[in-house]
Symmetry: D2
């Protein structure tokens, strides 16, 4: 209930700060404090921005536990994997660590040879999941989207709470929104489409930029239907998003967080590469402009 | 040495047979016997055709061990993962299980934000690898190819033996072939390009169809430069490949193996879906035609 | 002035009806009457939906002339071509025929080898254009989009009135909208995004479905910010758009027009293929549902 | 007969030199002399490398006429267009100008909504064509390939002589080669695959680089099956092709021709952009290396 309420706001897919190659627990706690100060409604550790694919199972558990220990808001833990068994295991790990829900993605590496393949994959996981499940559509990373028909078929399962869509395709998002019951939460995960999606009925947002400027995303959510919402989207969110997508999003988000003084280092793990000096300056400038909008 | 010699022939990326949802060890041993009867030079369990992404760590170990126990030829074990640490761990597991080498892929899910990202990813793995390493280029599954420049940079490392290229892009293959030293083995992994690649200097092939018709692939290898080689490519390999690619390759290969009587079941794991009856018939027909060519 | 006002509404990219392989002038006039009855603000003959690439130069002139002769609203004529000279010639033809403006697309077949290539292409045309010009972004057909930077550079030219964006990419649309002056008209050309775009500040729409249900598009435009606008988008426009995109859009639009009784035949020219019986039924059903929404 | 014989060699898709924005007839004649000195078997004016989409109808006629007037080898004229009627007209124009055959492409801008759409498009053209027709597959420019099934269906028509495939996809090429009768000529149009294709049974090549180094392409053709053929492919053709594809091919080919002293200017028309100084140097170096290989 608290989870459902929280998702109808802004959820942060948190970065995983590193120090000398290891998870920087202290910086992680600082990020969480910054987010809660900014009014965030829920947090989502170990997603794409959290560099989940670069973490070991032990690190996964550690990051989720640390987050749960310091969070005053619901925690949805990333739990994607390429097999049914490994995904179920990752969900169990998140449950043990105290998470409120788990997010799962379409199978990556192996793409289905028939539409029913993904449906069976998801259903096999959901049937064994020890936590409520959030679908997470991110075809740029998985090589395939979760078809609206697949979502519609899965919705019937009790413990599916909704979907995060990071595809950047608003037609897809609206198609899922209209093809599922009201209680199925449709959350916009592509920051550049946050306000447009909210204006068309999205339930909330799960946005990487909420790591950096949680207060802006929150205000945009509250004022989505007003001119203020459009202004925040246009003058703060879109330009910072644009500056960040020039690079990969996880490194860019860390750079922006470091520029804002929240974390000490923007180090990432291979294959990701830290933003270079020119990028750092561009992101810093965009951050400054975005904050200027909120101070108006 | 034995490994290098063997790779200069035909290596089989073996299927992983399932029985009632579990690895069918007995069928796996039967596949191995069939391959060795067919003159295969090396085997590659736990690759894409082996449904590696659907196996747990324990199953990975078990499949490699079983293969090593029954193989009279070198064993290259698939060991791809999305993080440096998990890949190194998978290689260690393969080493413990007795494999002669391990194959690694470009990071999937997370694609690099700069060319040097993949280079660092591979170098970090290679520096810690407990086995000689084979690069495995399969952009259809990983979302990115291993750039020729990246291969050229990695070649300097002692324990990299070569590359399997399954991209289907002969220009890429030739570019890698010409940009690396002679001792770096360039192996064609896209069956429809086996004979063309061999005619241009490929060192060998690692081909899913060698599961089904190992003797045909061996003969095509021996006669690549003759008219017989072109005939086998045209009349046996290409049509069967075509019949199989209509479906996903792992299910189709299992179906063909079941049709040939080598394995009892063509069951696969989600998200893969077994070939339907019409597909089974088409694959059976193509198999029969392919075998007729060899019997001439 | 009349043109600018009209574009800030709904413009129809008209079909070109055929009869026995030739342009059916009488059906074309009927379509126009149907559109004007439905409250359309402007018409756009010889665009993508008008099968412009299948028309000869003489037919182009004839269709524009006929439209101008019977139109009580401004006429924007499609005038795309692959070379500067042929495009200028097509614009001259449209001017001779009495059109108020001409729409031009990015060069198809040849894609630019550098960003400035498209800019020079457009500027060379605009400098010689005998009519005000509307940019038309449709990367699905041209193989490349008109980059926001290119649009921003072109805006300075006096006789460019705006852009029709049919990409389906709302982030692109918003980027162009925010990167150009207020007087530059940004028109949404992808029907499934009409209301979302209007809610974010789009100046109008140029939508294939306005051939079929002009009154619905007009009402959606007037009520874009209300619940009624979302309802029309969700229950009328989106489902009919979806039924049509299963086929190519020009044939599907003609089928819907024939089902509504406006034109006698849904014949198209090769390479397009007329919708089959199953498609005709699905489109007919979606049309009926769409009309039911307006009658509420 | 002369045409068929000539195509079973190396055909040059000629550049169209410009001088001060107009076709440079004198330079065109010089290119032709250079090609015939280099042993070229046939010439193909007004193709992709000839910037056909940037020429007016009058220029098309003029270039073909000039070529025919000075050619001692068969002339195949490019005659692609987006409609059946315009294509038939372009073929007539080529016939009037004295060409021996015409090359046609899949409809660009409009892609077919069903496989039979392209078949009907091609058949409608072929039925009215006043010259023998060569199919020309270049999906990078047209947005769609000519499916092997479509080729197989069209082959039955008397006046289709063969296909030029510039896709870069050798599997596609072999599929067409095996699916058509022996008398249907399969010509490799992607320079980096010339020798591999010839080794697998290609009838000839139509290659942009034959503008620059006709003698090298000819020698590669004669020695395709020898080590010399592979050497020429590897050390001359592939590196120069690689240097050129970094830019668009038409500008790069003109730059290489200017570097070799054959034409006075490498000017192109928008949207193409001339190669910059760094590119000119790289192409010049690759040209020098390629020529050094032939002088061995």
């Amino acid at each position: 209930m608290a989870l459902r309420n929280a998702l109808q706001g802004i959820t942060c897919p948190m970065v995983t700060p590193f120090d000398d190659g290891s998870v920087d627990e202290s910086a992680l706690v600082d990020v969480l404090a910054h987010l809660q100060d900014g009014g965030i409604d829920a947090v989502f550790p170990c997603g794409t921005t959290g560099e989940y694919p670069s973490l070991t199972a032990d690190e996964h558990r550690h990051v989720v536990e640390t987050t749960v220990d310091h969070a005053e808001v619901p925690v949805i833990a990333g739990a994607g994997a390429t097999s049914v068994d490994e995904t179920v295991t990752a969900i169990d790990r998140a449950a043990d660590a105290g998470a409120d829900a788990a997010a799962i993605v379409a199978p990556y590496f192996t793409t289905a040879n028939a539409p029913e393949g993904n449906r069976r994959f998801f259903e096999a996981i959901i049937d064994e999941a020890s936590l409520p499940v959030l679908l997470y559509n991110i075809p740029q990373c998985t090589g395939q989207r979760i078809e609206p028909e697949t979502v519609a078929a899965i919705v019937a399962h009790d413990n599916v709470v909704g979907i995060k869509d990071s595809s950047g395709d608003l037609e897809y998002f609206l198609s899922v929104l209209e093809g599922t019951p009201d209680e199925f939460l449709c959350l916009q995960g592509y920051d550049a489409l946050l306000v447009p999606a909210l204006r068309m009925g999205a339930d909330g947002g799960i946005n990487a930029l909420s790591n950096v400027i949680p207060e802006v995303l929150r205000e945009a959510f509250d004022h989505a239907d007003d001119e203020r919402g459009r202004e925040l989207q246009r003058d703060a969110i879109a330009p910072l998003f644009d500056a960040c997508t020039t690079h990969d999003f996880a490194p860019a988000t860390k750079t922006a967080l470091a520029e804002r003084g929240v974390i000490p280092s923007d180090a990432v793990r291979p294959p990701l590469v830290a933003v270079d000096d020119a990028g750092r300056e561009a992101i810093g400038d965009a951050l400054e402009s975005a904050l200027a909008v909120t101070e108006q």
